[in-house]
Symmetry: C2
Subunit: 213 residues, 2 copies
Amino acid sequence: MMGLRAGMTRRHGVDGRSARRDATRQKLFEATMALIAEQGFSDTTVDQIAERAGVAKGTVYYNFASKSVLFEELLRYGVGLLTADFTAAVAGLPPVDAMAALVRAELAFIQRYRSFAQLLLSEMWRTQRDWQQTLRLLREEAITVIAETVQAGVDSGDFAADLDVRLSASALFGVCLVVALDWLVFNPEQPIEQVESAVLAIVRSRAAVNAQP
Amino acid sequence: MMGLRAGMTRRHGVDGRSARRDATRQKLFEATMALIAEQGFSDTTVDQIAERAGVAKGTVYYNFASKSVLFEELLRYGVGLLTADFTAAVAGLPPVDAMAALVRAELAFIQRYRSFAQLLLSEMWRTQRDWQQTLRLLREEAITVIAETVQAGVDSGDFAADLDVRLSASALFGVCLVVALDWLVFNPEQPIEQVESAVLAIVRSRAAVNAQP
DNA sequence: GTATTTAGACCGACTGGTCAGTTCAAATAC
DNA sequence: GTATTTGAACTGACCAGTCGGTCTAAATAC
């Protein structure tokens, strides 16, 4: 089935996947993301996914072993995008600026991939799912980038030394998710700057207060 | 809790419900809450609900018109408890103390009814569900209590005048949900006081900073 | 007091429909 | 000429909702 060997020609990707196939997978990711955010995993049928992606049902199963494998790969894909954004955002910045950059990056990501953010929040604390383990690992991955920034701030003295780094990092991650979704779902007309500065105000004031012994 | 109504002269309550039936409904609420939090609405079967509640499937349909009606009434029931807690918590307190009381009340509620909190968060931003409208209204109800407290603080000069009351209220509501679930799911051994003070630190510092022009 | 009635409450086997997953021959890109 | 996509048919499991039947206890009759 996965017939191509790596390094055959330039047309094919490292996994032996053609650009054409990658495009199909991309379409399937987008469609799945949107549908699952709207309806949840179980209420989303493979027929719907195929239809929204503009692809035949057989194609879904040509590209993914099963519905839940499709979802698991989607999780990897989405969180991969997010951590890439995070890493790029903080590159070379001092802690305080990096913090603001992280918030900006997360809000921007959520605005761009709102469906994904929505499904992340829905599944985040769910237990007893087959992909639960995957999601937990991926979450760690994203939060680790934030935690490293917080840690750097603590080390440099910009943040309070007694700060619970892990708790702060995951709180920041979660707060952005909640506030951003609230904004997009209930107050879409509100400008992003307002939301951004609101979140930053919380983070900044906290850091400032904590930093002054 | 949804106790029996006072003033039962005959063997039946005012709307024709017996104590026996109320007990059954209560069991069904608890079972549904737990199962939906674990698995989500669609993956929870009526058979499972009946089994966990220790009743027959027919009983579910005797007490509720349908699965989604059961869920909708569960939402009302749960949010009712929450808003009651909120209202009781703030009664007679000045704004700053009321704020702390609200956080305490929300955390305590989530600890007690973790399953409900979990399902609230999962369904909060979901669109295209038949109970979507109900959930949105109930959410407003709970947040309004918070918003009134924030407003009182603004009026009394304890909080900054330019504070976005609605946004702050829903942010506070969401932040408690996220932080509390993170705590219960990922760090259950962490003491509640630590979580409580972390949330309060954010809120308090923010108010303090904003209150000093 | 005991028997009978009554209706609310509950039971659980059954039905009808839905959907994930499979398969494949034919068509179309590359 | 191979990789990929198509579309449709099929199946087997699963599940919401139904319905005739049973149970329970209060109320009334005897």
